[in-house]
Amino acid sequence: MLTELVTMIDGSALQRGALFLLSQIRGFPPIIQTVHILGVTAIMGSTVLLDLRLLGVALRSHRVSELIGRLLPWTWAALPLMFVSGIVFVLARPQRYAMNPVFRAKFLMLLPAVLVTLTFHLFSIRDREFWETSPGRRALGKAVAAVSLVLWLGVVMAGRWIAYADYLIPVEE
């Protein structure tokens, strides 16, 4: 399915358009990458900070329920921004990304990262104090936060490693 998708994108108007933007407009790649990195910044300042709060190491005077309501909207706003700023690069060179094992690893971590954060948020929407009401819930929150933290930091680091995949896996020719 992935191969078909790549074949479909390759040579399409969408692919040529993305490639044109990236190769012909001076400064376009670093500006779009910066937008992507500012999205990462929002993730760090929202989901990651919330995880640190749940683990009990940061922002202890802030209530968990308050932080969920205030911070997580930043996560949900950042993700579409990062999707748009990221997909430009994928559309321009679909082969390169589809074949890249680090790119795959990034999305294998991103999917559960988003699902964990979303599930966490939904429980809090249904019952605002859900994650604070009992020692058991707080312990569960800590476990979720630890998983979320590892996944999100993994996604960010993998994102930077995409360009260096050949350091990890020798290129087969």
Partner: protein, 167 residues
Amino acid sequence: MDESVGVLDGLWMWLEALPLSARIGESAWFPFLESIHVVASTFLFGSILMLDLRLLGRASVSHRISRIVAEIVPWTLAAALLAVLTGFPLFSTRATHYAHNIAFQIKIVLLLLAATNMLWYHLRTARTIASWDTAPKPISAARFAGMCSVFMWIGVMLSGRWVGHLL
């Protein structure tokens, strides 16, 4: 002026000639340090943004500013330390090139401005914090510091990302 540049260039050449610099530049250490550098710098900006938005009266207005400073700034400084510790080895791999890279130069200037802005806020502006600590909208000097911080860090991110495009 020319002479001082010459002295610095000597330093950069010495730095990049170190065996350790070459080892980092030619191995997976470079992307490893770079990925940590990205985590540290985005966390730095992501954390200080919370304080900046509070200073601008845009977020957490029910919390004391001094409390947010106490809870956030140690994290920001720890991230800054990590960013410097990972950034310097990256710089050392091609020190002469980076020192003459205009994006890198702009980044360093913006970093110094951001640090000055932070110091100015904490050493001067925050002296009178007792009278506006709980104010949803603090005094204009504090709001100005928050705004400067946001724009300077966006500039650091942009110029930092641009460094690699001028190789």
